[in-house]
């Protein structure tokens, strides 16, 4: 018995030793990616990838932009500084080799490139274009709204001329169409692949398209595999019509925790990390292993005040708050300097933007005076609503709370869960709130003011002013450029005086990558990365 126990003890010791050795041999830094593979750390998985009915999720848009192409695309321009950018206001042929406007501006005719192919080898012709737009209008998804805004109301306005030519007819000439078309919603689909999934119950094949794209891609990459919740992998599309992508495979790894994404970028375990907190960017910029690309984005961050609800229905109150906000502190301490102050509801970078009417600066005396005039000299209490988990919102809220306390306004900060926040903002039920998600994908000033101040959809602050309304209605669809420009100045003058929003900032779009990854091109139209240009040294 005793002998047995001694034996057992020895055996145990041996096992423990062996286990230690095995574990020890496994402790070694692991292999990194090679030059044909790019590993990108993203915060979340793809959602619905049906191009015409997708959500606002950045990854999903970026995915669609890299696997699909459109008839026309943004022109690449090289500036004086030698930096190449995607110009949001200049369009060239994409899948279409060329396009031609009719004299009356009511018809644009596209000539397709020769020998276009989908990723599965099927030919891509004008028939595919017609198929795509028929489906788009039949489905009545999100993209339809933008086509209709550009005066293309239904599929009868898309004319198939021959297998190389297709024309789009507009009811009234306007300058919105191309900007509305150069995005993933207008991805040309493969009828041979999508067609068979169209059923009586699901005439737009949404059930298939929402989770797959295999064989219908025609962009620089195609979907290789998806491991839900874990990663999705793109591989170079050899049938792409332009210069093939440099990097063969891109692994998008879902890493939800921002500090983990940062640590993995710094250590070289990933090549690119998306959505890093601005707080950490300065340390990355000092790191010679990392390149940080910073570009001013047209994304707007502002505080909405519901113009129909007291006391925010009073212009003086809105102005007072606009004077109370510590703009510099927010740009420097919340955004750590990675933002520019927003000085008009039309952001810098959009044609027609002017900051000449921006008078607001942090001035508490002026703010008190205005509150006094509004009959609220004793202040009031209110609730500031922000989306949960949004660091920028939270820090802005704290600075806002402090400043408003100085002028007698008691602010309670309320964090709303994502779904609740979006429900309330869509229904225009938020009263006093932070928002920083909007970017107008068409860099056309009237597209921007139309959605933000005219259409019921996105006028979250319920701003109503007959003059502004009329100016937008009269000029959105118009080719009288002089009148449009003049009206735009007037719109900005009124908006800044009436202060429906407290203008905060335009964040920089920041993309951090390993220094050996080169070739990045910034597209200010949508901030989305075109991975085809990237290569490794």
């Amino acid at each position: 018995m005793y002998v047995l126990q001694r034996l057992a003890q020895r055996a145990l010791t041996a096992v423990a030793l062996a286990a230690t050795l095995v574990l020890g041999s496994m402790l070694a830094a692991n292999a990194q990616s090679d030059e044909n593979t790019l590993i990108v750390a993203v915060s979340r998985d793809l959602q619905n990838i049906d191009p015409t009915l997708t959500s606002g999720n950045i990854n999903t848009w970026e995915f669609l932009t890299n696997v699909y192409s459109w008839l026309i695309d943004y022109e690449l321009v090289t500036g004086d500084d030698g930096v190449t950018l995607g110009d949001p206001n200049s369009f060239v042929g994409g899948l279409a080799e060329s396009f031609e406007w009719s004299e009356d501006g009511k018809t644009v005719t596209f000539t397709m490139r020769d020998g276009l192919k989908f990723s599965n080898g099927d030919p891509l012709t004008a028939e595919s274009v017609k198929f795509t737009f028929d489906r788009l209008f039949d489905q009545q998804g999100v993209t339809v709204g933008n086509m209709a805004l550009a005066e293309v109301p239904d599929k009868e306005h898309i004319e198939l001329i021959d297998s190389k030519t297709v024309a789009i007819h507009l009811d009234r000439p306007n300058s919105l169409l191309f900007g509305n078309m150069a995005q993933a919603g207008n991805s040309i689909l493969n009828p041979n692949v999508v067609g068979p999934y169209m059923t009586e119950d699901d005439p737009s094949a949404h059930e298939w398209l929402k989770s797959d794209s295999t064989g219908t891609e025609q962009g620089p990459y195609r979907l290789e595999s998806r491991d839900p919740g874990n990663q999705y992998v793109l591989v170079r599309n050899e049938n792409y019509f332009e210069e093939p992508a440099h990097i063969e495979r891109i692994v998008f790894k879902v890493i939800p925790d921002p500090s983990s994404r940062l640590a993995q970028l710094v250590s070289g375990a990933v090549d690119i990390a998306l959505e890093l907190p601005t707080f950490d960017i300065a340390s990355l910029e000092a790191n010679s292993d990392i390149t940080v690309h910073r570009n001013t984005s047209r994304t707007i961050a502002y505080i909405g005040m519901n113009n129909e609800v007291a006391p925010f229905d009073n212009k003086l109150v809105r102005q007072a708050i606009s004077y109370a906000v510590p703009y510099d502190t927010i740009v420097n301490d919340v955004m750590n300097g990675y933002a520019v102050q927003l000085k008009s509801p039309i952001p810098q970078g959009t044609p027609g933007h002017t900051d000449q009417f921006f008078v607001y600066k942090h001035n508490l005396d002026k703010a008190r005076e205005l509150l006094e005039q509004a009959g609220l000299g004793d202040g009031f209490s209110t609730v500031f609503e922000i989306p949960i988990g949004n660091q920028e919102a939270k820090e802005t809220a704290v600075f806002l709370q402090q400043s408003l306390r100085e002028i007698g306004i008691d602010v309670e900060i309320q964090e709303l869960p994502g779904a609740a926040y979006f429900e309330k903002i869509q229904k225009h039920e938020l009263i006093f709130f932070f928002t920083n998600f909007w970017i107008s994908i068409n860099n056309e000033p009237y597209y921007h003011v139309y959605w933000k101040f005219h259409h019921s959809c996105c006028n979250y602050a319920n701003y109503a002013n007959q003059t502004v309304d009329d100016l937008i209605a009269d000029n959105t669809i118009s080719t009288d450029m002089e009148a449009r420009d003049a009206a735009l100045v007037e719109i900005q003058r009124i908006l800044l005086d009436e202060a429906p929003w407290v203008l905060l900032y335009q964040p920089q779009h920041i993309l951090a990558m390993r220094s050996n990854v080169k070739g990045y091109v910034f597209y200010s139209a949508d901030n989305l990365t075109r991975y085809q240009y990237l290569y490794k040294e």
Partner: protein, 335 residues
């Protein structure tokens, strides 16, 4: 025995029905409309309306409930609003990663906690007892996500001993052919040593972090029940008969102390299923924890309900297993 098991499994039905009623009501009382997260803000009112209609969100709640129950009986848990996949597929594909992680965490916790608890009981009041108590306090007091971050910082970032927290296996290594769905087992069975190495490396940190949190209660309960056993009459009798101390501790006392330990293991395993939410987020582990975390954040009703049904089932089955183990281990218990 068979009758007992059958009865217990039948009992699952009313339990699960009750759970569905509660979760169904709760998820719909919480504010937040999933449609607004599903489509772009530019979508027209009609588009929204149509999507809501298709998702059945416009019907009265009791109709929605009945439809849900009817689906569940057919194995249809609905489609997740976020992933757009059937919830059942989502849950099955994410079950194995979580199971593998919690299984190894549990084994690790038991392997460390039981000897520690025994030692603390045998050498009560000595340094080893104090160390065990200290470890237990730390394990309970330290938030698990914090321990995770520190572990990543030290073992990955500073020392480069362990790979980047990128989930179950290195991005550059293809996963082993699927047999069981557990990467460790599958790579062993297929002799895929490269995958095995990467899998074990990836498992080590998250499993150790979870084990650290789980071992505290196990070590304490082992100690307590060992002390009780060691002070009992039968131990005194054994001692007076001159049995060697090791035989008293391992053959007699431990056998008696093991029953409360098994109950505790089941409870701790249930707790691990909760703790795994945070750990999976930090380690980018593609499991159920992260799935439910996202589901909560985006009001993904079908996914949430599916997950709660699943975890309820796991709980009930786990305790059924404990009861069966009791019968097998304790001759005094008869069914």
């Amino acid at each position: 025995m068979a009758a007992f098991v059958a009865r217990r499994i039948l009992l699952l039905i009313p339990v699960l029905l009750g759970v569905t009623v509660v979760t169904f009501t709760l998820t719909r009382v919480i504010p937040g409309n999933p449609i607004d997260l599903m489509v772009s803000p530019l979508a027209s009112e009609e588009t929204r309306e149509r999507i809501a209609e298709n998702a059945g969100l416009n019907d009265p709640i009791w109709i929605q409930y009945l439809r849900y129950i009817e689906g569940v009986t057919r194995g249809d848990f609905g489609d997740s609003f976020v992933t757009n996949q059937p919830v059942l597929d989502d849950l099955t594909s994410r079950f194995m990663p979580t199971f593998e992680l919690t299984l190894f965490a549990m084994l690790l916790a038991i392997a460390l906690a039981v000897p520690l608890g025994i030692a603390a009981a045998v050498w009560r009041g000595t340094w080893i007892d104090h160390v065990s108590r200290l470890l237990a306090v730390f394990g309970v007091a330290m938030p698990v996500f914090w321990v995770s971050l520190v572990a990543i910082y030290v073992f990955f970032f500073l020392l480069h001993w362990l790979p980047a927290p990128q989930g179950r296996i290195s991005v550059m290594i293809p996963p082993p052919d699927r047999i069981s769905g557990l990467y460790t087992i599958d790579s062993l069975l297929t002799g895929n040593w490269q995958a095995l190495k990467s899998t074990v490396q990836s498992l080590l940190m998250p499993a150790a972090v979870l084990a650290f949190a789980a071992m505290a209660p196990l070590a304490r309960i082992t100690r307590a029940s060992m002390i009780e056993a060691l002070e009992s009459d039968y131990t005194r009798a054994a001692r007076s008969l001159g049995l060697p101390e090791s035989s008293i501790v391992f053959r007699h006392a431990l056998r008696n102390a093991i029953l409360p330990l098994i109950t505790m293991i089941a409870i701790v395993y249930g707790y691990l299923l909760g703790g795994v939410v945070l750990v999976e987020n930090v380690f980018a582990w593609p499991g159920l924890g992260r799935y439910v975390y996202n589901a909560i954040a985006s009001s993904d009703y079908p996914a949430l309900q599916g997950f709660i049904l699943y975890s309820t089932t796991v709980y009930v089955l786990l305790f059924l297993l404990v009861d069966i183990l009791y019968v097998l281990l304790d001759p005094r218990v008869r069914l």
